[in-house]
């Protein structure tokens, strides 16, 4: 296994994904240590009229609690946050979320670029961004923001993706620190966890 040479500077993780990312997300969440020390902020494309069920489906195997935050809810470590359907989710200075119903971005609401971009603005070089399988370019720009602000960037290995448009968009726009398969992302989280013990 690769040694990712991590340290404990990081304060948050943000994950974006779309078509073909569900299984990967489930695998990552089900392998997280129960006392994982950072908040995980997720923006996944989802059906806009189906408000319920998604959190429940992700929660079945997740070791950590998954919530769709309310507007102005504070970000706490060890929790997994999922952007609610039909809202954009932004991270604000002061470490809380705000939701919005603005126009779709990249044909999406929630848009991954918005969650990634605003989270990068707040957490700067203390952020790890992960972009998984997906059929459009949403998230590519967000990954560039993360890199530009000194954060770490990870994409799912395109050959493993059901649809690789999304990680490839990020690879074209910015430097990606690690191109990893889901199993390697799981290992990455384990190594990261050790830094906080």
């Amino acid at each position: 296994m690769t040694d990712f040479k991590l340290d404990n500077r990081y304060k948050a993780i943000v994950i974006g994904g779309s078509a073909g990312s569900f299984q990967g997300i489930v695998k990552i969440l089900s392998n997280l240590p129960t006392n994982f020390p950072l908040p995980i902020i997720m923006c996944l494309h989802r059906l806009k009229h189906v408000r319920n069920g998604f959190v429940e489906a992700l929660s079945i195997k997740s070791t950590l609690e998954i919530v769709e935050p309310f507007d102005k809810e504070h970000i706490k470590k060890g929790k997994v946050y999922l952007a609610p359907s039909n809202y954009h989710m932004s991270t604000e200075l002061g470490h809380f979320f705000s939701l919005s119903t603005e126009d779709m971005v990249n044909n999406s609401r929630p848009a991954i670029d918005i969650t990634l971009g605003t989270t990068a603005y707040v957490f700067r070089d203390k952020l790890i961004g992960i972009l998984l399988s997906g059929a459009n370019k949403d998230g590519g720009l967000g990954m560039k923001y993360i890199k530009d602000r000194g954060g770490m960037t990870i994409v799912q290995e395109p050959s493993e993706c059901m649809i690789d448009t999304m990680p490839k968009a990020a690879m074209n726009l910015t430097t990606i620190d690690h191109v990893l398969k889901i199993d390697e992302i799981v290992e990455f989280f384990k190594q990261l966890h050790k830094q906080y013990k």
Binding site: H49, P69, D71, K72, H88, S90, S98, L99, T101, I114
Partner: protein, 272 residues
């Protein structure tokens, strides 16, 4: 997207506040920033150019129109409308024969038309008086006109079907020049008014206030102030509906309300 610093945002809110009396100081930061950046992009202007332009009062309307978010749907969250029809409106009728409703931040009017359609199908439209307010005069005009893109009607119809309406949304509009023109008679008991939630006065008492997905654009300080106004604007035992991902929990005034439906975020005023 151009990166904008907080200092620039402060300059903008300062000018708009001192020159025109609109106070955006307590708007939520990241969406406000995106709106400003959108204005710069759409007009292809620099921050300095925007600051100059803001001194021309003719530009104010355009600014207000772009800075506020006007994305909405008819029967957004169909399950909310079912609760309204099956629980909330009957609850109001227990106390009052006439139903007084305020749509606070009505935007382009989709929610107002949804309400009118719902009340009509309940046979209650004539017993109702609806006031719809927004701070943006352009959008109020659009709401009053009741003209929508046909493309949007597809989503509206889908929502209406999920709401389980009696007929079809098509029965409430005609197609003229490729646009959907809403049936004017739906608006007989509706009055549209310009009103700014931030510094506007309390102007009436209501049985039901709808302010869904409006306060998400405010910070918590402002949310608190606006909630006090809603509290004052409601009859005792009147209802307040906010967006499904908003919450009153953090607010000073929360103890004067009880939650009637947690999933759809409908509250009832229980204390004056």
């Amino acid at each position: 997207m151009k990166e904008i610093d907080i200092a620039d945002l402060k300059k903008i809110t300062e000018v708009v506040k001192t020159k025109y009396g609109y106070d955006f100081t307590n708007y939520a930061m990241s969406s406000f920033k995106r709106r400003v950046s959108r204005i710069l992009e759409m007009n292809n202007m620099s921050m300095d150019a925007l600051m100059r332009k803001l001194n021309e009062s003719a530009f104010l309307d355009d600014f207000l129109n772009e800075i506020t978010v006007n994305v909405t749907e008819m029967f957004r969250d169909p399950s909310f409308w079912r609760i309204l029809r099956d629980d909330i409106i009957p609850g109001i009728l227990l106390n009052h024969q006439k139903i007084r409703i305020w749509h606070a931040g009505c935007s382009s009017g989709e929610e107002v038309f949804s309400m009118a359609i719902m009340l009509k199908e309940m046979g209650l439209l004539e017993n109702a008086s609806l006031i719809a307010t927004d701070l943006d005069t352009n959008i109020l005009e659009r709401a009053k006109s009741g003209i929508y893109n046909l493309k949007n009607m597809e989503l509206n119809e889908k929502n209406y079907i999920r709401y389980q309406g009696l007929t079809s949304i098509k029965d409430y509009y005609t197609v003229e020049n490729g646009k959907a023109v809403m049936d004017k008679s739906l608006m007989d008991n509706v009055s549209f008014r310009k009103h700014d939630l931030v510094n506007g006065d309390i102007f009436n008492k209501f049985d039901l206030v709808l302010c869904r997905n409006v306060m998400i654009y405010f910070n918590q300080t402002l949310q608190n102030e606006v909630l006090k106004k809603f509290h004052e604007s409601l009859f005792k035992y009147g209802y307040l509906a906010i967006g499904s991902k908003e919450s009153l929990i953090w607010c000073d005034i929360a103890n004067k309300f009880i939650i009637v439906n947690n999933e759809e975020k409908v509250y009832k005023k229980i204390k004056d």
